[in-house]
Symmetry: C2
Subunit: 123 residues, 2 copies
DNA sequence: ATACTATATGCAACCCATTGCATATAATGA
DNA sequence: TCATTATATGCAATGGGTTGCATATAGTAT
């Protein structure tokens, strides 16, 4: 049939398509707590960096998230309030994970209370 | 990578996957107004009947809608309040379509104010 | 310039939902 | 019983998103 895509539904359809993806949904949920750098998300999802960056691009080009570069690091943030509401409805309030993940970015270093998880001491 | 499907997100992921589909979203939106028979949805979507029934099955097996048979006709209804809220958030209040679609079901016949759209007089 | 780290991009292969269609079933009436 | 209408199911083919990986780019430091 292929007809049937009323323009009235298109924004909602695009949004649902973006959210109906494990990695993207997880990323958006993580960003509800505030900014996060790519390496942070990478550590949280335990997925290859190019994979993370690809999903970030999809979300960025859709306007759901935005980013800001600081030196070598790029910090992403949730940029769409409607998504924040949606996630609050469906996932509940922001979940505080027991051991907050640490990566190699300065932000993680300065607030580090434990040994960073993905930082390996080389002697 | 295929790992990464935290059970915490699975209900939301399933829901988003169901909603990220033009026909299914349209059907759910239509059912916000109340019950509708298959032929009614068929007329509204202008899609083949087997196609409509398939999407209805998907939604039914997911528990989003329920149905009740009355003679030859099967009336579907929205069965998930969370979905109703979601749609209200994203699509706004129930839209009253200018000319309400009519099909061949008794319900449409008794409330018919105009000639049913998809009813052809064969004399 | 070179080296190194963090991040982004390009692209091909794969996989699975989508969808079209034939057919089956349910219910009613003659 | 047969005919007809409304709805459901089965299944193969297709198309488009997903994903893995090689590689490119940006930024910093020596």
């Amino acid at each position: 049939m292929s007809v049937m895509s009323e323009e009235r539904y298109e924004p909602a359809l695009r949004l649902f398509s973006l959210l109906a993806h494990p990695a993207r949904l997880r990323i958006l949920d993580l960003l509800r707590r505030g900014e996060a750098c790519v390496c942070h998300l990478q550590a949280a999802l335990r997925a290859p960096q190019p994979y993370i960056s690809q999903q970030l691009r999809v979300l960025r080009e859709a306007g759901l998230i935005a980013c800001r570069r600081e030196g070598l690091f790029v910090y992403y943030r949730l940029e769409n309030q409607q998504v924040a509401h949606l996630l609050a409805d469906l996932l509940g309030p922001v979940a505080e994970e027991p051991s907050s993940l640490q990566c190699t970015c300065p932000r993680c270093r300065e607030t580090a209370s434990f040994e960073p998880i993905f930082l390996v001491e080389v002697n």
